[in-house]
Symmetry: C2
Subunit: 419 residues, 2 copies
């Protein structure tokens, strides 16, 4: 046990040291290094897939589901996806060094704020080994050292990918310690990682609610996380129902297994009588099952009565809750109670209802007349994202490159002292 603890502490300290050089590396040098990673992914594809096949074989032996095995696989297409991801990160503007809010103060000093890397970011994630490249690329581009702790079922894949990242750093004259992978599957390693507050600035867990709760409760280091996405659409009395239907169906059915998919629909009583029967046909055609309030059950063919536990459920499948409400206030109160601060949409043509909903609903993204599926770093204009935060400190919503940096104050003086 002492050996793992010491190994983790030393690894984190080496990453901290390496991150200091990375912090001031010119953008061109970072981009060149990321291009080397992409080239290595292509030239070493056979090696990557050979290591990956060890994980697949071990996974089969352990009886992983077909879906789990599929997520584990570094197929040609997945590797090509990582290469594309790298070129997207290369093309993103570098936030480091950007100076904003420069003003002259009454004392005569000029004060501004300069974007700088956070330092060292630790990612703790499950399953998909392509996260190793995606997350490392974003962290490195933002000038951060990165420590990766993937799922134990992907250990061979993660180690070979980390080796390629380190080779790319070294081939470009950068300290390879800037990227580290925790190469033990011992769960204690996570516990020790969470204690390295001297060397690690941020922990980002990605995975099931159990992992995220464990990390939050045990970390001395700030954690950016989202637990789950329980997203709602509220169909206002003044909704354009021709807009409502595609928004609902896109939000629910385009990719039901993701966190920005629709899980609960609220419909104003004034339009429920007309609209819910129409929706019944749409849901039926798309294979969407419904649990709802008594009014919904009466109006929407095929809807089953909702149990109390159903409200606020993250279904992640072709199923949702539907509730009839009497006002925007009631919809907002429902969202405050059952939502997860992820994505909330109002469908309305009413100016005041739209503005009120935007201003007062507490969620990382609040939308008018748009699919919940737009809550995504790429769609919102951040480029690639490293996750979606549903806590409010530092970042709320998708986290892109800028969210992997912070700002320090800079002062240009000319001999000024404080009076």
């Amino acid at each position: 046990m002492m050996l793992i603890e010491q190994a983790i502490r030393e690894m984190a300290a080496r990453t901290r040291t390496a991150s200091q050089d990375l912090a001031t590396l010119p953008t061109a040098a970072k981009n060149k290094m990321l291009a080397t990673v992409a080239a290595l992914l292509e030239s070493e594809k056979d090696l990557i897939q050979a290591e990956n096949s060890k994980d697949i074989a071990a996974g089969k032996e352990r009886g992983l589901s077909a879906a789990m095995l599929d997520r584990l696989q570094l197929s040609d297409a997945v590797i090509a996806g990582m290469v594309t991801g790298l070129s997207e990160v290369i093309s993103l503007p570098d936030p480091v060094g950007r100076i904003s809010d420069m003003t002259r103060r009454p004392s005569g000093i000029s004060v501004g704020r300069m974007r700088i890397p956070l330092g060292v970011v630790a990612m703790i994630y499950e399953s998909r080994p392509n996260v190793t490249i995606d997350a490392a690329a974003l962290c490195l581009k933002a000038g951060n050292g990165v420590i990766l702790r993937g799922g134990s079922e992907a250990i061979h894949s993660n180690i070979i990918l980390a080796n390629l990242l380190q080779r790319a750093l070294q081939e470009n004259g950068i300290n390879g310690d800037a990227v580290q992978v925790v190469d033990t599957t011992d769960r204690q390693a996570i516990q020790f990682l969470l204690q390295q507050e001297e060397s690690i600035d941020l922990i980002i867990p990605r995975g099931g609610e159990g992992l995220i709760r464990f990390v939050t409760e045990n970390s001395r280091i700030p954690v950016l996380k989202h637990y789950k996405g329980v997203c709602h659409i509220y169909i206002d009395r003044d909704a354009d129902l021709d807009k409502a239907t595609p928004i609902i169906m896109n939000s629910k059915t385009q990719r039901p297994g993701v966190c920005n998919a629709l899980e609960g629909l609220l419909v104003h009583r004034d339009v429920a009588g007309q609209y819910l029967p129409q929706l019944a046909d749409e849901f039926s055609r798309a294979g969407v099952s419904v649990v709802g309030c008594p009014e919904t059950v009466a109006l929407l063919a095929g809807a089953e009565p909702a149990a109390e536990d159903d409200w606020g459920t993250e279904w992640l499948q072709l199923k949702l809750c539907v509730k009839v409400v009497g006002s925007t206030e009631e919809a907002k109160a429902y969202i405050a109670r059952y939502g997860s601060k992820h994505t909330e949409t109002i469908v309305t043509e009413n100016y005041s209802a739209a503005q009120d909903f935007l201003a007062s609903v507490d969620a990382s993204a609040v939308m008018v007349n748009a699919s919940t599926r737009f809550n995504d770093g790429g769609q919102l204009g951040l480029g690639t994202e490293i996750g979606i935060s549903t806590t409010k400190l530092h970042s709320y919503g998708p986290m892109g490159l800028e969210e992997l940096t912070t700002r320090k104050f800079i002062v240009y003086g000319n001999g000024q002292v404080r009076e």
Copy 2:
């Protein structure tokens, strides 16, 4: 024990509920409420001072030092200071509702970011009861609920001030639960506060290093903190020594007991021979004692040899470390090792040295040719501050009103769905 735990949980939940109304309160309503607080401080001065005298009496009985008793006292001048502080907060622009970065995306949606309150902030602080008003005013102006846990020695003062805050809220038709004071001196109350992650969004500890470490290690809620201020000035080879002296003396002597005071001076070898003897006179006149490296001891009359423990010490008195260095790189390495990421200044006329120092030194404020004492919310242009963060998540440096808010994404659509 169960009673305290339950009381804390219920109090935090009530604050959460009250904070929801506060989040969308118009600026004018918040300012009017703060003006009521100021009026009550003046009209209820006798009551405040009567309660305060109970704390003073108890403090004398417990043998508090004269300095501690002085910090505890709500004299006429301290109350007038709180009133002035309130009018400053009233005059600050309200960050809530500010929309930035509004852009049209290729999908046709318009995406922006709207500033919103954090929700509920808990302040855990020691001694000075005027913090109760100062901190509450900033939190309320930013639309946050606030839970205050002051030092046990100020309990009567804090309770009466909290009562006045609640009266001001109620007189303005706002739920008084938005401000709460923990009215027990039981230390367990802090432990329970740190577990209310459902109701509290941010913990700000202000006080000694022991308090801050306890809070960091036990909190499940994000913490904004600074441990200490070990600030340096580096006198470069190309420094204008006529600027250097007032900057050093102001940084060290203007208010030696505060976190942005100078604690360590680094002098380039090329100027040390000329400059350190001059400084000896300045330090001697001001009663500043020096511990230093062997070269310093040889050049600066009165300097004693520094022990290894002296480097990196936060003196908080008229004393400092002085070290002769051979290059900017050596100065930067020293700062990286012994600094506390608070404030670092270079004195130089050399363009490249200044720019390199600004870009590469990791501290919440990095300065050229200016006193370290400028690292202060008022001096840097934030208005009043609630503390200075030396950790990088969310806020790095002085925290003003804006740092008590966060941003959510807002989306204006017109029926868009994701392809």
